[in-house]
Amino acid sequence: MSEDKIKNVIKKVAKEKEMEEKNRELLLELYDHVSEHREEASDSRKKTLIRKINNKMEE
């Protein structure tokens, strides 16, 4: 599936930019999270997404 291809590109770019591994993993996790919910991109969903991403951004 193209999700894997997208993730590979994200990984590659993040590596080139010398992004730390834990941040790289988090970024891929965020992408997974978004692609899982692609069917439900309503406004309230988007707000939930912001909240969820915010929680994941906690160090």
Binding site: S2, I6, K12, V13, N23, R38, I50, M57
Partner: protein
């Protein structure tokens, strides 16, 4: 993946059970199956049936399955037989990586209510047993979300119209949805919103932080120190005055001096006794307060007992008794105020107003001069009324009242004696000493009062210092929170930057690959002599669509005819769905490029060469004829003939006949 068979039961024009073979394993090298039949005979229903089987109510095809898709004949026959329901079923048999599955979706239609009985359910069997995975999970794993399946199961005409109507928008939407760019955009948009989200939180926290309090704290501490110094000074002054007082009669052995000293000692003792009495009273007061707060309970208990006794003899109904007891209990729960028995009936006491509230104070604040003053009487009355223990409290009042009266009288007598001695003394030196003694005592008293005042001020300052210190602690915590939010903000920006770059890179990679595939597809679809002119396809990162010549020059729109555009778009579309790499059969209603069978031949041939399963619905005489069959036969796996028959009172029903794939189906019309 192969769609091997679809079975319909009471689905649209298919009455009872109708099996349609879609793939013959013995001819597995031939990837294309066709369903041939005139318009409105049930071809499109095959595509819809497959979608309904996979997605149930998530795929509606723009309609309500229960009111529009249940076979009419089945409903009418059910009515005639007096049945309650009709079972509508679609079973899709698929092969995935060599494993065989049966996907069965059932919908129950209520004949009486003319609507569904419940949501159509899907079960998936392997070797006759339900699979362990949930059906939804299975569909998610092996297929695409319902709106993306339209790129595999579609009407060729509709698809082309979609691309032709608003080309750039459709290309963008298709790429974004099918390839997942939309997910990157969603993530990027969300990340872009986060810094503002954090900024708002920071502003909110900052608004709650008081300004710099260090100076204020220093100032308060200085003030406190000054007060403490003043207290210390006053205490030293008192000590000096005490020394002076003690030395006043030193060496004076006169009887008057001795008498004066004795009187002052007696007065001091009385004052101490009064002080002790006051302390004792304050201790009792604490008990008294507790007693009063508990009185409600004691009282309620007492009332209930008395109430029971009253009514034991009067024989009231059980219901009456219970409602009264309940009333008492609920009053207790709702901050009970008091109850009295008046003429043998319980009455709830309304909340006492503040004037009558029982409030025990410092004994000195009580005015015992007015005998049985109004307030005292009301206190005693309330206490007596409130509890069986009230007598104890009243006795306490009496005890302190008597004691304070006698002690105060005694003290007044001694003080008068001391005053008289000072006034009547004839010896001038002694008179001066008596006077001085009383002045010193007054000065000490004044200084003590001054100390109390300053101590109160000092305590106020100390509590302010404590407040500031607490606030400063909170400020430090808030600063930590702000720093954390700042870090999150930076992180969100950084993530967004990477995601944007990744999107650009991915789109470039994707377009390069799909453009290359699509160009090859285009070249193999157009006539050989056209290949130099229609050499390549390019969709640029702004989603503009270009067709280029062999020398790289772009063909202007005016020079490209509609068919070429259609071929180009379809080439791009098929290359893109292949890019996804999801092995799902195409189910296409109609031919791809209607105006020229030669193009279809070459385009479908390319799909056929790749060995992917392609199921097509065709209209005899129009799309399906000897010429089509000629080139199609080298890929043909199965050909089905679909027809309808009038069954009399109801709608016609559809039948399917499997025809040999080696010769063209002959039609009588």
């Amino acid at each position: 993946m192969k769609f091997k068979k679809v079975i319909f039961k009471n689905f649209k024009p298919y009455h009872d059970e109708v099996e349609i073979d879609l793939f013959d394993q013995d001819r597995k090298k031939f990837p294309i199956s066709i369903n041939v039949g005139p318009n409105a005979h049930g071809k499109t229903s095959i595509s819809e049936g497959i979608m309904w089987c996979l997605y149930g109510e998530n795929f509606s095809g723009g309609t309500n399955w229960d009111t529009e898709w249940v076979n009419d004949v089945a409903i009418n026959m059910g009515k005639e037989k007096g049945n309650d329901e009709v079972n509508m079923m679609v079973e899709l048999q698929v092969e995935i990586e060599g494993e065989q599955y049966r996907l069965i979706r059932n919908g129950i239609y209520d004949i009486q209510k003319e609507e569904k009985k419940r949501k159509p359910a899907l079960k998936i069997l392997q070797d006759g047993e339900p699979i362990e995975q949930s059906p939804v999970g299975f569909i998610n794993d092996h297929f695409l979300p319902v709106d993306l399946m339209k790129y595999y199961i579609f009407d060729a005409d509709d698809m082309l119209t979609l691309f032709e109507q608003d080309r750039k928008k459709t290309i963008k939407r298709t790429i974004d949805r099918i390839v997942g760019i939309k997910d990157i955009d969603n993530l990027s948009e969300t990340l872009a919103k986060l810094p503002q989200y954090y900024e708002n939180q920071i502003t909110e926290i900052e608004s709650k932080i008081p300004g710099d309090m260090t100076d204020k704290l220093k100032q308060r501490r200085k003030e406190k120190k000054r007060k403490e110094n003043a207290i210390q000074d006053l205490k030293e002054e008192i000590d000096e005055l005490k020394d002076e007082k003690n030395n006043l009669f030193k060496g004076d052995e006169s009887s008057r001096a001795k008498q004066f000293t004795k009187l002052t000692e007696e007065r001091n003792e009385l004052q101490d006794k009064l002080q002790d009495l006051n302390e004792e009273f304050l201790e009792d007061q604490i008990e008294g307060e507790q007693l009063i707060s508990l009185m409600d309970l004691f009282f309620l208990n007492d009332i209930i007992n008395r109430f029971e006794n009253e009514y034991e003899e009067k024989a009231i109904s059980h219901g009456e008794f219970e409602s009264l007891v309940n009333e008492l209990s609920s009053t207790l729960n709702n901050q009970f105020e008091g109850i009295i028995i008046d003429e043998n009936k319980p009455k709830l006491i309304k909340k006492l107003n503040n004037k009558n509230k029982i409030e025990l104070k410092d004994i000195n604040a009580l005015n015992f001069e007015e005998e049985e003053s109004t307030i005292e009487r009301s206190i005693k009355n309330e206490i007596r009324r409130a509890s069986p223990r009230s007598e104890e409290v009243c006795d306490q009042f009496e005890y302190y009242k008597d004691k304070i009266k006698s002690l105060t009288r005694e003290l007044e007598g001694v003080e008068n004696d001391i005053k008289n001695m000072g006034e009547t003394e004839e010896n001038r030196e002694l008179k001066r000493k008596f006077k001085r003694f009383q002045e010193i005592e007054q000065e000490i008293e004044e200084k003590r009062e001054r100390i109390s005042d300053i101590e109160r001020m000092r305590d106020k300052i100390a509590s302010k210092i404590e407040d500031i210190e607490n606030k400063m602690d909170i400020t430090a915590d808030r600063q930590v929170e702000i720093d954390k939010l700042e870090r999150k903000k930076e992180r969100a920006n950084y993530f967004k930057e990477i995601i944007e770059e990744a999107k650009k890179e991915f789109l470039d990679d994707f377009l390069t690959e799909v453009n290359r595939e699509a160009s090859e597809f285009l070249r193999n679809t157009v006539r050989e002599e056209e290949r130099k002119r229609f050499h390549s396809i390019k969709v640029d990162p702004n989603y503009n669509f270009h067709i280029k010549k062999e020398n790289g020059e772009e063909l202007s729109e005016g020079k490209i005819n509609r068919v070429t555009i259609q071929i180009g778009l379809m080439s791009f579309f098929i290359s893109m769905s292949q890019y996804i790499g999801k092995d799902i059969p195409y189910v296409i209603d109609g031919m791809l490029i209607r105006s020229d069978p030669g193009h279809d031949k070459r385009m479908i041939g390319q799909v056929g060469e790749k060995g992917e399963q392609l199921i097509m619905h065709m209209i005899p005489g129009k799309e399906y004829n000897e010429a089509t069959f000629d080139w199609l036969s080298s890929y043909l796996n199965i050909q089905n003939y679909i027809y309808r028959e009038d069954v009399g009172a109801s709608e016609p029903i559809s039948y399917v006949e499997k025809k040999a794939p080696d010769r063209v189906i002959e039609f009588s019309f």
